[in-house]
Symmetry: C2
Subunit: 210 residues, 2 copies
C-alpha cells in the first residue's frame, strides 16, 4: 500500500488525521505541489485528476479522493468509528461532513486560489488551468464568515459537529479552520466562542498534529 | 417518514432515482422552490440550510443532504447495492461519485445560477444571498465541456462510471447530464460517443423517470 501525500496541503491532511485516529500507518510518498509535481506525466499516470491524496492498494487499485480513502479504511478497520455505526448516525455524519466541505472547505479554496499570486491560472486543483476570478475570492471570504457563524451556532448545541462524538465531520472542520488561517488569514473571532471551544478541543487530540 | 422534494430540482432527483432503484417509496412533500418556499421560516425550521432534499425520520431526526439520505437507505436496505459491497468497491464508488459531483454537478450549478435571470442575488443555494458572478458562469460552461470529455474517456474503458456495475456515481452522472441540458442547454456532442452510449443506457432504466 502507498499513500501519496503532501505535508503542507489540506486535502491529504484530512486522511492523515483520519489514519492517526485509527492508529493506522501507511508507507507515504510526498508529492511536491509547490513545484507542480502533481501535473507531471509521471504523477498523472498515478492519478489522472492530478490531485493528492491518492492511495495505491497492493493490487494496484488507486483511490483518488480523500473521502474515498477514508471510506476504505473505515470499512477495513471499523473501530474507532469515524463515519457512524447505525444507519441514522452514518447519514447524519455524512450530511455534516458534506456541509462543512461544501460551505467551509470550498469557500476557503475559492478565497485562496482566486487570490494567491502563486496560483495565477490555477484557480482550481486538477488537470485543467482556470484563470483567477477576483469576485470569487471575495465571495469566498464572505462565505467563510457565514460558515464560522453557522458552525458557532451548531457547536453551541452540540459537543462535536455531527453530535456527541468525534467524527470525520470534525476532521473536515478542523482542516477548514486551520486552512482558513494559513491561507487567507481568517480566524474565528471572540464572538465565535463555541467554535473556538470546539477548535481547542479537537486541536488538542494527538491526531491534529498529523 | 417524510421526504421533502421538489420534482423539478436536480438534487432531490438523485434521491428519487436511488429510491426507485431500491424499490422504496416514501411519503413525499413538494417544496415550491420557484416561489422560494425553502426560504420561509416554516421550511427553515425543518432544514436550516434552506435546501431540498430533506428526510424526516419517524423519531423527528432530519437528514438534510442528498447523499446523507442515500447513505441512510443503503444502510437499512443494502440490496441492490448502489454504494458498493467490499471496502475497495465502496471507496471507488465514493471517489467517482464525488468526482462527478465536484467537476460536473458544481460546474453546471455555477454555469446556471450565475447566469439565469430568475436567480439574480441567489447564485448559491442555501440561506445566504450571493450576487451572480458572470465570469463564474463562463467558467462553469468551460468546466462542463471538460467534464464531458473526461467522462467520455472514462466510459470508453468502463461500462458504468465506477466500474462494471450501476452505482450512485451513475445516478449523479445522469442527473448532471440532464441538468446541463435543461438549465444551460449543453449536451454531449457526437464526439462523446461513449458518454452518449452510457447516457442512453442509464436513461432507459425505469428509475430514470423518477
Amino acid at each position: 500500500m502507498k499513500f501519496y501525500d503532501c505535508s503542507t496541503a489540506p486535502s491529504p491532511r484530512r486522511v492523515r488525521i483520519f489514519l492517526a485516529e485509527k492508529g493506522i500507518s501507511v508507507p507515504t510518498v510526498q508529492v511536491d505541489l509547490r513545484n507542480n509535481e502533481q501535473l507531471t506525466p509521471a504523477f498523472r499516470a498515478i492519478n489522472p485528476d492530478a490531485t493528492v491524496p491518492s492511495l495505491e492498494l497492493d493490487d494496484g487499485t488507486r483511490i483518488n479522493d480523500a473521502i474515498g480513502i477514508c471510506v476504505y479504511f473505515e470499512a477495513i478497520q471499523p473501530r474507532p468509528s469515524l463515519m457512524g455505526e447505525s444507519a441514522e448516525e452514518k447519514a447524519i455524519i455524512t450530511s455534516w461532513q458534506r456541509e462543512v466541505e461544501r460551505n467551509g472547505f470550498y469557500a476557503v479554496m475559492d478565497a485562496f486560489r482566486n487570490w494567491a499570486r502563486g496560483l495565477k491560472g490555477r484557480a482550481l486543483p486538477g488537470p485543467d488551468d482556470y484563470e483567477q476570478i477576483p469576485a470569487l475570492a471575495e465571495r469566498g471570504r464572505l462565505r467563510i464568515a457565514h460558515f464560522f457563524e453557522r458552525m458557532n451556532k451548531r457547536l453551541a448545541q452540540s459537543e462535536f459537529i455531527a453530535g456527541d462524538r468525534y467524527s470525520i465531520a470534525d476532521i473536515t472542520g478542523l482542516v477548514v479552520v486551520d486552512f482558513a488561517r494559513s491561507s487567507v488569514k481568517m480566524t474565528p473571532t471572540e464572538e465565535h466562542k463555541d467554535l473556538r471551544r470546539w477548535h481547542a478541543q479537537v486541536s488538542a487530540r494527538p491526531s491534529a498534529k498529523a
